[in-house]
């Protein structure tokens, strides 16, 4: 029998399912319910494309605003909250160990006055203030430096360091001033009028508790000294008296130093022209898009660098699994 005849005979012998199998399958098919929604690429694209477009648009349109905010140096801390904090700190009886650090928001053109809390009266407090100002031009930087020095001297203070640098279109200056503590508020207010405030920080540290402790120690030592002096003077007693006297003198010198240091507040002033704003003027309307594309490119390179080997491993694993499965299947089906 040829292969052709063989095939013809085999084809003629079609098998039909018995009635009971047919009935069983009909019963199974009768249980069919509405199919659940299928995932298709078309459906996925309908959702993905608008979302991607919205994200891209958000990046393009929101990025320049964000830069603007950075340029103006807006800080999140609200002055109101800072005020509340310092109102509490202003009562020395309630808070003997006073320590405060306040960062104030950059003021806008409408609010030129800087925030400077009142140092608590009757207590020794170390007062540090830092002020960042923006001025329009390099000439204004020089003028601001001169005026800041004049303000410091007029209030009985003096400069510790002055660094100024100006170029054709930009300039910066950093000044550290010592101002008598009772005039620090006035100094900060007058300095803040030299430009637009972009940042401000005030640090208050109470030193009174330490001084009180030292005074108590001195009193105790003086009492001991008086007792020793009342005793008959021997070489040992004399040595003790000398040591105690030196110790008391040291402590008194330390207290005096602390009081002297705290008499002056340190005010750091940073004056600068808006350099970044000049840069920003060169950015075109599609700058945000360019930035977004650059980040997408970087992400794509990372995905390729990390994804390609992973993909290769997955592919090799898949091949190995398929080969093993085929071999097992062939072994299973090779039995007669």
């Amino acid at each position: 029998m040829s292969q052709r005849d063989l095939a013809a005979e085999l084809r003629a012998s079609r098998v039909t399912a018995p009635d009971e199998v047919r009935e069983h399958v009909r019963l199974i098919a009768a249980a069919e319910t509405a199919p659940p929604r299928k995932f298709t690429w078309r459906r996925a694209l309908v959702v993905t494309l608008p979302v991607a477009a919205a994200i891209a648009a958000a990046i393009v349109f929101t990025r320049p605003d964000h830069q603007q905010r950075v340029v103006h140096g807006v800080v999140v801390t609200t002055p109101d909250r800072a005020l509340d904090k310092l109102d509490k700190l202003g009562a020395p009886a309630r808070t003997p160990a006073l320590q405060a650090q306040v960062g104030a928001a950059g003021s806008t053109a409408g609010e030129p006055k800087a925030f400077a809390p009142v140092p608590p009266r009757g207590r020794v407090v170390q007062y540090d203030a830092a002020l960042s100002l923006r001025v329009a031009s390099p000439t204004a930087v020089s003028a601001a430096v001169k005026r800041a020095l004049r303000i410091a001297t007029s209030l009985g203070g003096f400069p510790i360091s002055v660094h100024a640098s100006t170029q054709a279109k930009s300039g910066t200056a950093d000044l550290t001033l010592k101002i008598p503590r009772q005039h620090v508020q006035e100094a900060v207010a007058r300095l803040s009028a030299l430009g637009t405030i972009t940042g401000e920080q005030v640090d208050l540290q109470d030193l009174q508790a330490g001084i009180n402790a030292t005074n108590r120690e001195i009193a105790r030592l003086q009492q001991t000294l008086a007792t020793l002096r009342a005793q008959p003077q021997t070489p040992v007693t004399e040595r003790k008296i000398a040591a105690l006297t030196a110790r008391i003198a040291n402590l008194q010198r330390g207290t005096a130093d602390t009081r002297r240091t705290a008499h002056y507040a340190t005010v750091t002033l940073h004056v600068a022209t808006p350099q970044r704003a000049v840069h920003k003027a060169h950015h075109g309307p599609l700058h945000g898009l360019v930035v977004a594309l650059r980040w997408i490119g970087i992400a794509a390179i990372y995905v390729l660098a990390l994804g390609a080997p992973a993909l290769l491993l997955v592919g090799l694993g898949w091949l190995a699994v398929r080969t093993i499965r085929r071999r097992r299947e062939n072994a299973l089906l090779s039995r007669p």
Binding site: A7, S13, R14, T16, A17, V25, A29, E32, R326, R335
Partner: protein, 158 residues
């Protein structure tokens, strides 16, 4: 096309394929029911753009039959009946000559299924390849080998 329509239309083909593949009508009866139960569960995955319902049902039937073969092999091993395998009378289709029936019994399951798909059920090489999970060239090679083996068995019998 609904599942009920596909089942009604292709039941005989699926049953025939299972009968040829297993060489056991009783097993084919059970496996047909099992195949359609499984197909109903997986019907939401059927995509007409990727292939016909017939091809898809054959794929499900094949998976069901392979599971059956595996469980049979495990059962045989467990019962240690490998040395004396349980023989059933192989009857692939009505109207086949006795010598052809005997020659078909000499084929293994893998060869029988390719004969069933390509010749008895008249499936094209690509669809058969999709059912078997191999390339169309492999299908043709496997079919030629099976037919040659049949031919030899028939000539020996003659």
């Amino acid at each position: 096309m609904t599942f009920a329509q596909a089942a009604e239309e292709h039941l005989d083909d699926v049953y025939g394929y299972l009968a040829w593949f297993t060489g056991d009508r009783a097993a084919a009866d059970d496996l047909a029911g099992e195949t359609f139960e499984r197909a109903l569960r997986l019907w939401h995955r059927f995509d007409p753009e990727r292939g016909s319902a017939r091809t898809w049902l054959f794929q499900v039937a094949r998976t069901t039959a392979l599971d059956h073969f595996r469980s049979e092999r495990r059962r045989t091993r467990r019962e240690q009946l490998a040395a004396v395998p349980e023989r059933y009378e192989e009857r692939f289709a009505e109207g086949l000559a006795a010598d052809l029936q005997a020659a078909l019994g000499a084929l293994n399951a893998g060869e029988r299924e390719v004969v069933a798909l390509r010749i008895v059920l008249d499936m094209d090489a690509n669809s058969a390849a999709r059912v078997l999970g191999i390339s169309p060239t492999n299908v043709t090679t496997r079919l030629n080998r099976a037919l040659k083996k049949l031919e030899e068995a028939l000539s020996v019998a003659a």
